[in-house]
Symmetry: C2
Subunit: 418 residues, 2 copies
């Protein structure tokens, strides 16, 4: 199979004759511009749009496919009858509308998130509804194979407890806390996630699970979830920043998560704040992460406050402890410098701040806003909103599920008229 | 008229009944997905694609419109017969192909570039071929109205010398050396281009010329030209940086110039290099421009070398003068720090360096490459090429012409069968 620039794909190992991929079917049958192909091509457009957005109002479906409302309505009816889509009454801008998703019974999807310190696995139905959710701690220096083994065992257990079987998994979305190189399928630099260098994550995991696996950087998945259902919903140009043990960002450009030429865009944590600053784990000096990552904050507080966890620091800051408030605010100022540069370059209209440190609220956000206001061009910061994440600790896992739905292989049922 | 987020549009003041806009016509007539609309809609897609790219091989036209080669071939023939398109034999990847552009006789377009120190105006035919080209010096503190007056007089003269008249101008593309706010139609910060604050550039100029005018930041126009016909041709993720009296950049994302939420993306010159650095004209401290802009270089050399121009510095550096080589190299290191951060954020596969200082070649480029290699994540810099601009001093004016062609109002001739 030729490498695909978009990155994540891996063929489903089940019988290709019974589980045809919607896209491929149309690529073969359709002669663009001819009448005969129109029906099939319109159907595929609608299924792709629903998968891509996870779900959307029927009126939006017309807009996003370029089809007329009548055509959309007919095809949605047909696909609902065939058990591929389902609709739920909802309101959109005060008007009644149908919310369209994949049908619940189409199959299951899973999301996996390797965080800096924990592993989380969730199973959802094809509408994105989470049915099971588990997390466990993870050693910072665990090896990829051990981690992926745990995922496979956990997922098999979780699926079984839902009275289902692994072959019902349509797709798995998997997030890693490091830049993921889509041109190689590896974590792009072994120093960024020790024990993971050279591992073809999607291939290895897919082999164990018998389901296609799609991998992305976890900040990109956080951005995806905030874009689909959180603080960046309906925002065309935005950035999601996660401030925690590590600092990452996911960029939203023209309403889509932007991944760059080989998938490593958004590495805000490794933007240089001070050329002569501390050595970072990435090998550079003075990266944002060395000034605003949890380790630096805990180090700063060690003499005055003793050994704390990041959670302690946030709790104490919220309770009014001056030292903890100060380190959180200083972290905010460092993040603000990096974000000011991001705003000068990308001119987003909204920045969403998530990650564990964002639980400190305005203790973190106010210094970010102040610094961006001072350091960015007025043109870049004037119409900018800097807001807290809505999904908080859920963003990455929900993004992994969204990624799985987006790439899910959907059976083209024999009972859809052609 | 409601504000358009994409920015530049201004209705053509001529008779709308005779000069219908292709897009509008189709928006009214087409019912997406129906057979009757297909022919019109396919025709419009092809004209839009040709305008958008300025010109492209017929085989690429199939790819970029999603239409079959046979459909493209039929419609191109029809539009050539109608005098809207023209084809020129060319080779593409060793195979013969037709290169498709607007027909030469469809009308004229103009490009205007307000540089930091000069004004340049060019008139081209609808294929993009430059027919007349004039430049004149410009005081740094000229006022917008005086500058735009000169453009109007110059353009009228130039068009007349081509035995044509102003109503034959289909569109004008105009570049300004400052962030241009598409939400207001003004230069976004009056401190960035004194004498231009609050001027609705497109409206004022369009009124004087009787032709629609489309405005953009000049670095975006440089990026557009390098993307269409220069060092970024066929590159999906790239950045164009212009290093001269001012420093700007134009970002290419997914094969298109990216302008941000209000048009001010790409302000690399005002990325903070040193929080405590010199005060910049933008009001911030330690911006890249304060370390690598021409004024800083000339200032550094004043004591040792006396008063020089930027051209002198480049000539002396190329001749081996150690002091001049040093200031150019130091500017390269500063640009490298900003570019390393850009690469961490955007993961482009190519960076194109233009502007007057790029004439120093590797004296500038080698320190840029070295600094990016040291400061960017290996994942971001590994597959990155940093190359000189191909169009050099021509990029901005050619970009202005490309912008004009992209937005040109094309007559839908009565003799195209519907």
């Amino acid at each position: 199979m030729a490498p695909r620039p978009s990155g994540f794909s891996l063929l489903h190992p089940t019988d290709a004759a019974t589980t045809a991929r919607v896209k491929d079917v149309n690529a073969k049958r359709a002669t663009p511009g001819s009448q005969t192909s129109l029906r099939e091509s319109n159907r595929a457009r609608i299924i792709e749009a629903v998968k891509h957005h996870g779900g959307l109002a029927q009126v939006e479906l017309a807009g996003s496919t370029g089809l007329s409302p009548a055509t959309v309505s007919n095809i949605v009816k047909e696909l609902v009858a065939a058990g591929i889509l389902q609709t739920t009454p909802s309101t959109r801008s005060g008007r009644r509308s149908q919310y369209v998703t994949l049908a619940r019974n189409v199959g299951l999807v899973a999301g996996v998130h390797f965080g800096a310190r924990h592993l989380r696995v969730a199973v959802a139905d094809a509408t994105g509804q989470v049915l099971a959710d588990q997390r466990m701690p993870l050693g910072t220096d665990h090896r990829a194979d051990a981690g992926l083994d745990r995922v496979a065992l956990l997922l098999a257990d979780m699926v079984e407890s839902l009275d289902a079987t692994l072959p019902e998994l349509l797709a798995v979305g998997l997030g890693v806390p490091a830049p993921f190189d889509t041109s190689t399928g590896h974590v792009s630099s072994s120093s960024m996630l020790r024990g993971w260098g050279g591992v073809e994550i999607a291939r290895v995991t897919s082999k164990r699970l018998g389901a296609p696996v799609f991998v992305d950087n976890d900040a990109n998945l956080g951005a995806l979830a905030e874009l689909r259902q959180g603080a960046a919903k309906d925002v065309a140009q935005a950035a999601y920043v996660s401030v925690s043990h590590r600092i990452g960002s996911g960029l939203i450009i023209n309403g889509e998560v932007y991944r760059g030429s080989i998938g490593t865009a958004g590495e805000l944590g490794h933007v240089t704040i001070d050329e002569d600053g501390p050595i970072c784990r990435c090998g550079n000096r003075g990266c944002l992460e060395t000034f605003a990552g949890a380790q630096h904050l805990l180090e700063l507080l060690r003499v005055s406050h003793g050994a704390l966890t990041l959670r302690d620091v946030i709790r104490l800051a919220l309770e009014g402890d001056a030292g903890c408030r100060r380190v959180v605010a200083d972290a905010g100022r460092a993040v603000g410098i990096a974000l000011a540069n991001l705003c000068n370059l990308l001119n987003p209209s909204r920045v969403v701040v998530g990650g564990e440190l964002a639980r400190a609220g305005d203790i973190l956000l106010d210094p970010i806003r102040e610094t961006v206001g001072r350091s960015a061009l007025p043109a870049a910061s004037g119409a900018l909103e800097i807001v807290p994440a809505e999904l908080q600790g859920e963003a990455e896992i929900l993004g992994a599920i969204a990624l799985a739905i987006e790439h899910a292989t959907v059976n083209v049922m024999a009972n859809v008229p052609s």
